[in-house]
Symmetry: D3
Subunit: 257 residues, 6 copies
């Protein structure tokens, strides 16, 4: 399939755009992958995916030549290893609020000596075509663990999270971060302190040699993230794209100009 791992592209400084899929029909993710996204993320946290839909979606993304990305659910350490075994190149873990959260995540995502990932990548090896030894030697480098930074607490421990060995990058969840900063009173880009936090995360990630990623609600946000130094920019959940397109369509049918 694709010739380069997302990890290599990101480490080379490329800015990559990642589609986002909540819908379990495998063609939703594959269709996004075929439009030109570098990667597509299957979302187990707020999307509807489970192990079986991950399998179908991943194969479609790979067949389309894009890189498969997984967001596990909150508390989803069991899914980190399962996802990597299936062949996901990137795993995003929500609500990494502390150094100890980050250590537990890295432990699940990386083979020794970095972590304690358990051996069993039958399907991932199918995709890479490598031997057991070769897979073991390259897996920690070729797969990326992104810790979600999306609370006041995470901002407070940001440097310690970034310093954890095995954490390849951080991924900003702006909705949760805005709620956390606003202490539950509001949500959205206008929350006080959010813009500064977003800038700061990219700077600290760069200082630690980690990749900065973020979820962008809009095209404008995505470009702003890119300008701010983010290199892994996700956007466009399929359910919202579909709902918006359908709403536009029926509106225009009801109100022909």
């Amino acid at each position: 399939m694709h010739l380069r791992f997302l990890a290599d592209r990101l480490r080379a400084g490329e800015t990559v755009f990642c589609g986002w899929s909540a819908l379990t029909d495998p063609l939703a993710a594959e269709a996004m992958a075929r439009t030109g996204f570098d990667a597509v993320c299957l979302d187990m946290q707020h999307g509807f995916h489970d192990v079986q839909s991950l399998r179908g979606g991943l194969t479609g993304i790979v067949a389309a030549g894009a890189s498969p990305v997984l967001r596990v659910p909150f508390g989803g350490l069991p899914e980190v290893g399962r996802g990597l075994d299936l062949g996901f190149e990137v795993v995003i873990c929500p609500m990494i609020d502390s150094e100890s959260d980050a250590i537990a995540f890295a432990r699940a995502a990386k083979y020794p000596p970095l972590g304690g990932r358990s051996w069993g990548p039958a399907r991932a090896m199918m995709l890479t075509g490598s031997s057991k030894e070769a897979f073991l030697q390259t897996a920690n480098r070729r797969t990326l663990a992104f810790a979600m930074v999306e609370t006041r607490e995470a901002l407070g421990q940001l440097d310690r999270i970034l310093a954890v060995e095995g954490i390849d990058g951080v991924f900003v969840g702006p909705s949760d971060l805005s709620i956390s900063l606003a202490q539950g009173t509001s949500i959205g880009p206008g929350v006080e302190g959010l813009a500064e936090a977003i800038k700061m995360v990219a700077q600290r990630a760069a200082a630690h040699g980690r990749i900065a990623g973020a979820f962008a609600q809009t095209r404008e946000d995505a470009l702003a993230y890119a300008a701010a130094g983010y290199r892994f920019i996700a956007t466009g959940p399929d359910l919202q794209l579909l709902a918006a397109a359908a709403a536009d369509l029926i509106r225009s049918l009801r109100n022909p100009t």
Copy 2:
């Protein structure tokens, strides 16, 4: 849920717009239904639905207050009764090319004396809340059988198809009709004879007191169908809406202006 059956609205002369779903995730159809479409069609012919995805999609459409519509596969007479038993209000059957095709379809879709539909609407009765006797008395009227007119042969037998008791309407498939008219040499709106055929179908349907329906590839086509007298206008397959929206998004991210 919704207060009026699509059959009643169409018989009252209302123009209704129907979304179209190929994707099996039940939220794809429900999301379309919630944007304001009067109905959403689950497609077993060229979409990916099966009995289980029909069940999930239908309940979502109904919960959203829209009318559930089914297109069965080519040769899918077994699915006609199964779909009506599940609670679909409209069944569209492809490739009805002759009077005998139409009779077989009507036989599957209507209870005696109009046809030979078999009794067993446990789930449909849940949705209408009616007794067995009441359901039997009203089902033939409250559900609609649309015969697809999409070949040169069907045009040739149009009046005989329209005259079959139990056929409530015809539904134009413009892609297949264009291919058929062009004898396989071309596809699309430019094929010679297509525009005339589309006009003619609406006129003949009206002459027989039947409802004219059609699949519209674009918003413009949909409005043109409405202007030509079509009352049941389907459009906007979810997979295409999603793919187009995703393509727009990634294009705009790659080429910020």
Copy 3:
């Protein structure tokens, strides 16, 4: 599992009771099987089963020591062979209205020279543990094809249907038969001519050396069928049993005496 095939028990003159499952959760059918029903039927016509739910349900029925029975959908000749390949002992086919319907059904259900069933019973052979040759020699005898008699037309051709080689029995569908006799004006046990027809079917089946079966709406109907000479008596769809039990329960909670 069970020591005797349903075919052998029925041919020996035993009266067997068969549960009925519309629900796709495999434990619905297995739970019925474990209560003491001789067999449980998975219904693809008015129930919600598909090939995957058949597989799960069948294994549960077999594990419970009962005999697995399948009703295919209207027009479901493709499912006849697939069901027998999976290991169903009995296949019930709806709406066999004529001798030619019966011949087509027998052809799908029986190996040569009786019919044209296609070879490929990998899973059924797992269950019987027999060799290819032994399976081929015994399959036509160990599996039963029941033709549903449920229309005025079928009654008119009853003797010819019963005479078709490969048809092991007839199975009365009283709801459809009542609708057909009433020409769509009514449904249910009170329809004129229904009681006589039910008696007549058992007599003619006996005269032809075929097994008479029927679907019983109630316990009383089931016992009446048994008294009338029916030997294969199905009853108690899981969805209705569950709905009735739940309705009783909530009623008793709302109205404590």
Copy 4:
């Protein structure tokens, strides 16, 4: 759908009855909902549900006008947020044995400042039709977190559990509580101390202004719970209702009186 949230009804002092579903076929839960239960609970702990069956069951319950309730598995904090995102109004969490268990559960179930629930309720917002801001402001109030009290340890920390902010009620699991009180030597209503514990839980819940809920094995138990001050009373697992009804039926067929 339904006009009032279960939370509002319970806070207004209404006694509500909740059906219980272990079976994954979506019509099992919907059928219970349509018989008049105020709510139906889909059980991921001892029932067979997963994320996909939750989605189907929930939509059916909502379409029937009842309130959807979820019991997550033991240790199922990831499922708390996923369930609320899908639109469940109530989440029941098993084996809350200590104040710290309760705090972790509340953190998963409530948005800041009460907890740390993560934002992403796309499907729940579809059902309520509210904006992001409105949803955020009302979600903590409109959804209920029930902590299961079902061990000796939980009884010992009952007041501390009840005092945790974000815990809306407690839910008694009488089987586990009886086992725990009997230290594994017995199960059931006769275990010493169980009756007193059940009374005490309702009293302490009332003292803390929390809702008392319980699982009732029988109709009599349900009415006894109501009399004891319980307001959220669950009963009638579909699998048991079905098995009992099937057993009655086959018994009456074997032993006609």
Copy 5:
């Protein structure tokens, strides 16, 4: 993915080997594809596939660089078009016993003017990346329709079947053919007349410029078919390969030498 369509390879005279999958887990088919088979066939007739498992299996086969092949069930004309829409390159149809069977199959498999295949190849176009016009112009050539020749009747009409426009090849089912030749008394390679029939089919196919294919029970049969002029040779159902390997393993563990 793969650079050449199976149709082009077969028309160029290449001998291709096709794996066979009955199991619905998508990795069973993909694993076979990755071992070096040119193609893998998903079997809906005697295997356990349905539309959803076809989708998963096909994507895996394609991702592995092999060509996806489908066998539809007996009577499965609806699945012919659905399969081609999904992107299968070859469709095998069982029990083509007469010229009229062959015509109906070709009609379902080919666009006008060869047949009446209905337009809607959204997913197949994703895989080929072609425009609508280009897809229409090439589809009849790039996809292959194989008619199964597996009865005495089919042998009798072989030349007429081979002459039907749109039938690209014939595919011998030796088990059914042996049963048919033996009139149900036996099965297997020793049946009288089978060996001659197999030779004859290849010769007549060559004479008509059609491709000869066959299902081989063993490696030796496969090589014999190749020697006899067969170009499309399927073998090795996954379920049997697995069962045989597991039997070998447990036998060797029980009887260590």
Copy 6:
């Protein structure tokens, strides 16, 4: 089904061989069970199983007369109870590295007073046919909890792990253990210290009266484990058996001798 629980056989000193299934098609596991394996393990850690595939696979294994075994995912304590409720006789839990890990696992797997397993074994009771009281009294004895020993840390705490009440045995994962011993630099049987560790585990298990189990990569390994005193020996993942058999087949077809 089978007459003796695996627990009884193992406690009686029998050596049992357990097949291993990663594939979700229920016939993969059942086919292994029917070849003569004493048990078959469904793998949720590195295999592809989820709750629904566990249900189908388990019933097939039981119908074949073998004992169902489950490996839960890393961190999969919620699945321990769910699996036992479904009727698995053995649960294997990965990465038990410390006494506290072992205590948490035993707590999930055993009813009081040994642990805190929650009551709700509706389906398991179906399989054993026992009453609630009888099930409660026998479950802790009839089901086995195997703690995976597969890290340097686990070896260091081996005696403490083995001493935990409720841990019935240990199960060696040689791949992970080799990686851990080699600190991530290598994998496989040649890693220094692995052979000694494997011997030591069996000896310590025997000293504690616990059962020693292990996963064997090859037939030779399996026999070596048996010789070293291991009594529960798992081997032969279905995906690998299938892939190896398919590779052999295509190789022999390409290179006929």
